[in-house]
Each structure stands twice: as structure tokens, then as C-alpha cells.
Symmetry: C2
Subunit: 140 residues, 2 copies
């Protein structure tokens, strides 16, 4: 059963987002860090920030929505690029100050066109650049 988006009555989900919002500890700027992870591969695609409005929009639309700190506006991922992130699960951590969106990511997630924003790693030869972490499924 999809947790968000199709198949769940929207009024039910909106009630639940109120339960979620009351459990979130936003920082002094009203923001909380959000990890977006691809469901199929386990790859962490990006870390961005959400305010209450962004979390509400995510639950309402089923699409990963953030608060852009640089543009100071609501940011539905993929609205301009097409690389949207339908949200399969929305999770909250133990102390309520971090969020995990588990998403079915469309296309690459980084503005550089890399699959993951985490495309730089510390190696014996310094910082190396690739396309992001290897899928978890390939590692087990």
C-alpha cells in the first residue's frame, strides 16, 4: 500500500501531516534537514531542508517538496527539471529533528546532472568525483 500519494484518501493524509508536524522539532529558522533516498537502489540522492509548508505540500502532493534556502521559496523537486521524486515513505527520526523521504526518483537528482549530489568522496588520492554512491543492492 502506498503510504503517500495515490491510494490514500487525502483528508486522512492531511490529518496525519498535522500529527507529523507536531512531532517535528524545527530549528530556529523553522527548518528541518531532509534526506532524500532512492527506494530502488538505496542511494542517498540529496540532503535539503523543509519547513512546515514543504512537509505539508509533500504529503498533499506525494511529491518531494523542500524549502529553498537560496531562493527563499517552496521548491517542488523536479517541477522545472522534470526530475521529480514521488515519495513512497516519509520518516521522522527519534528526536524529531531530521526527516527521511524514501522516493522513487525520476532521473538524476543533482543540478550537476549526477545521479546523487554526493558525487565526491575522500580517497587516498584526495577528493574523487563519480556519479554518486554505488547502489546498496550491488554491495550485498
Amino acid at each position: 500500500m502506498p503510504v503517500l500519494g495515490n491510494g490514500v484518501d487525502i483528508s486522512t493524509m492531511l490529518g496525519n501531516v498535522n500529527a507529523l508536524l507536531s512531532a517535528v522539532k524545527f530549528d530556529s529558522k523553522g527548518l528541518v534537514p531532509v534526506i532524500a533516498q532512492d527506494r530502488a537502489t538505496g542511494v542517498v540522492r540529496m540532503l535539503a531542508w523543509a519547513n512546515a509548508e514543504a512537509l505539508r505540500a509533500t504529503v498533499q502532493s506525494g511529491l518531494a517538496t523542500f524549502w529553498s534556502r537560496s531562493r527563499n521559496e517552496l521548491w517542488e523537486k523536479g517541477k522545472t527539471s522534470g526530475n521529480s521524486m514521488p515519495v513512497h515513505e516519509l520518516r521522522l527520526d527519534c528526536d524529531g529533528d531530521a526527516i527521511l523521504y524514501i522516493v522513487d526518483a525520476n532521473g538524476p537528482s543533482c543540478h550537476t546532472n549526477a545521479t546523487s549530489c554526493f558525487f565526491r568522496s575522500v580517497t587516498a588520492n584526495g577528493l574523487a568525483v563519480d556519479d554518486g554512491p554505488a547502489p546498496a543492492a550491488a554491495k550485498v
Copy 2:
């Protein structure tokens, strides 16, 4: 080849941590959010914070180290609980303001004893509690 820890000359890695640190954009408190993800399962275990000292200690020891905002001290994960996180990869995102530790996690990662700190999810019935996200390997 392990990127961090055994097998890599520590003086090489310390040079690389300087390269890393110069690429990190710490916030006004000198901190950067760090995602810790289990390498074998792809499960995001926790989100915590690091300062430069914590990143340096992580590279030097090969063990995930954070800055505890509540205790205001360096925090080597598992030093008291035993649930350490040897770091396999240390990754930096595109704009340098988020870090990803890919770890071989020992034991559960949450202080509640859940495998992942992200053990609460928004469902049609409100916030549900489990042990954390399902392994990515099981989802593909």
C-alpha cells in the same frame, strides 16, 4: 580497497582531510549535517552533525565521529555503547554543506535500540513505529 581506516597510510589520509575540510561549507555554528548509512543494507541509520574536528577524527580513526550538540563535545559513535560505525566511504555533496558517511554499522544505531533512528513513518493511520526503513536490498 578501503578508503578509510586500514590499508591507507594515515599521513595520506590526513592530507586528504585537509582537502575535504577546505571544500566543506560549515554553518554559522561551524557544523555540517552528516548522514550515516549502512553499507550492507542501504538503511539510513541516523543524521547527526560534525564540526571540522569531528571530520578530522573520523578520517584519522576510521570510525564515525560527530559533534554532540546536546553535550557540546566530540562524539565517537559507539565509544560507550559499542555500536560503532567503521567508515567505508566519506562523501561530500555538490554544494559542500552535507556529508555522507557510508558505514559498516555494528549493532543498532539509535539510542532507543532501534536499528535506525528513522523508526517512525507517516501512514494512513498516523505515525507508525517500526525498527527503521526496510533494507534497500530487499526492495529491488
